[in-house]
Symmetry: C2
Subunit: 373 residues, 2 copies
């Protein structure tokens, strides 16, 4: 190992961050171009035992709080000091809740040397357009930033069930290949596409479709309807992304970040419900199902408080943000599914999701307009 080898730091240590560290640590041991050690920044907590989380991770090689029972690899070093954790890193993996990223970037200005990748799903969509986490990182830290998205329920990857993921990059294919090398394992198959916005938008917009899918489940509309709603949702994801970023490619929506992540997020595999409940996608669909079962009479605020101990659903807030963009740009008619999801969240009955007679002209419009993109 020469000092020129890439050093990797994972910023974040929730369940996905821990699994990312495990994947990466298995590769840095094997690949000569990476330094063996993988640093993982831990937002320090004191455990009920009185010990610090970072110390327990370093002693046991397990994130006992967020990914218990899974050995991360002895070359993963937990570090509660953010500045120290990133100091020597030339490759940074961001995998924190998205609301922390602005603060983290501020603390890291001028301290980062090379490349970054964001695994953070669910950036905000502001009226003037989406506020991409990868752009935030690029702009604030003056470095390039790729993204990695896909059908990636962390608990399943932790136990090495086969899955896929997509790396999105802007221009630098060589760096993208390096990220692929770093994440790819026999059970985690990564491929790279030159479409950072398309990949990143998939990770956010699918949560809106998951809300729609949950409504369909709650109304017991059946398999055809669920599939139709998912399909229309995928099309609106594509159309919305391409309207905002003309460089977005159709093919991206056939990647793991597109159709596959949509499937894991919208489908309720009963046998694996206990796993799904731990995931954001599962949450969106599940709360929307409960919302529809109650005929919209109990608000999302109330259901979130009851079902998620007060955590907020990303899908509901993303639907609102997307609605603002659509209204601002005069595109509401082009996106009947996206706009109806928000309208149901705030006022109209859940059955509106398939009020076809009303929606037919709107849906047709989308069909027509989709030809142009």
């Amino acid at each position: 190992m020469t000092p020129a080898n890439s050093r990797v730091t994972v910023v974040g240590s929730g369940n996905w961050g821990s699994v990312a560290a495990k994947l990466i640590a298995s590769n840095t041991l094997k690949l000569d171009s990476f330094h063996d050690e993988v640093r993982m920044w831990v937002f320090e907590e004191t455990l009920p035992s009185g010990e610090k989380l970072s110390q327990v991770i370093n002693r046991t090689n397990e994130n006992v709080k967020y990914m218990p029972g899974i050995k991360l690899g002895k070359n993963v070093v937990a570090d509660p000091d953010l500045e120290n954790a990133v100091r020597d890193a030339s490759m940074l993996v961001f995998v924190t809740p998205h609301q922390f990223m602005e603060g983290i970037c501020k603390r890291l200005v001028g301290k980062i040397r090379r490349d970054a990748i964001s695994l953070i799903k669910g950036m905000e969509v502001k009226r003037e357009g989406p506020c991409m986490i990868s752009s935030l990182i690029s702009e604030q830290l003056g470095i390039s930033c790729c993204v990695l998205m896909g059908a990636n329920i962390a608990n399943e990857i932790a136990v090495e069930k086969f899955s896929e993921a997509t790396v999105g990059y802007r221009k630098d294919k060589e760096t993208a290949e390096k990220w692929v090398q770093l994440f790819n394992t026999s059970y985690f198959m990564v491929s790279a596409v030159q479409d950072v916005e398309g990949v990143e938008l998939c990770g956010t917009l699918k949560n809106v479709v998951a809300i729609a899918a949950g409504f369909v489940d709650g109304l017991e509309m059946g398999n055809n309807t669920k599939a139709a709603i998912m399909r229309i949702g995928l099309r609106e994801m594509k159309t919305f992304s391409k309207l905002l970023f003309p460089s977005v490619k159709d093919s991206t929506f056939f990647e793991s970040c597109g159709v596959a992540d949509l499937i894991t997020t919208c489908c309720n595999n009963a046998k694996l419900l206990h796993l799904l409940l731990l995931t954001s996608g599962g949450r969106n669909r599940r709360c929307a199902e409960a919302f529809a079962r109650n005929g919209g009479k109990r608000s999302f605020d109330e259901l979130e408080a009851e079902m998620l101990q007060g955590q907020k659903l990303q899908g509901v807030s993303t639907a609102k943000e997307v609605y603002e963009v659509l209204r601002h740009r005069g595109w509401l008619e082009l996106f009947p599914l996206f706009s109806t999801v928000h309208e149901i969240c705030i006022a109209v009955p859940p059955t509106a999701i398939v009020e076809y007679s009303e929606h037919t002209p709107k849906f047709s419009l989308v069909g027509g307009s989709a030809q142009f993109f």
Copy 2:
């Protein structure tokens, strides 16, 4: 009504045929360009009561055997005489089991005047390429033939749950629009694409992916794996179709016939399992799940005998047929999923579906080659 109005005959009266007649009959009443009456050819059966099926349909307006409880419309006339049923028709809807089509076409040579559409999923894939039902009809009867495919579980459409479908046409957009008019209702949304082969191949190839999805369910591999397998399956459907018919469009796989039908066919919505069991898609996935749970130790023949009263699974035979094409053309390496499904059906253990270490180069190859299509 002038005699120049189009007269429609539905050839077939199973559950999907009955629902097709119901959809069409509701439209011929409303639209001036169609004769009100819809003929439905019934393969005559004597019911336990001693009555003929066609007579009971005409007396009750219900197909008491294949779609009990659903009123087809008073303008649907069941007719057990094939030649008589088609005599005055200018628009023919074929919706029989696919193995009957060759015989039916032979009986109809020279007796058909205008346009046809096929709703038949699961044409055969011969070594020299797929034997499209729409081509069989076109060639044998000397008429144009469109297709209609989609996420269309008949029992759900019968009770007017919202769904979508795709009409595929070759050249004649005007005729395609007429078919859309004839099928489209407030709860059954039809759109047309100029890609008859793409649409028709979707309806067949998805059954191979359903077998793969069933294996994943039987092995309890989880949501990521299931989504990955469905995604890879969709990509192989696209690549295979485009290799055989360069005119096939990527966008077709985003239509109801593509991604949506794949979802209904591969997903096991527990709440609706009683409906799924009646569908071909459900059967393929379900038997494959049982096959994998038994570690491949009980053959498909045995499971079909037990679970399907001896009916054969389309997915298993299509996988074999596709395998022959792939081997014949030297494409096996390009289609790891399709080829592995067949290999599992005949010999290798079900876990091969995700034996990634072995498959990685193959999967990567597909990823690479997919760029060219």
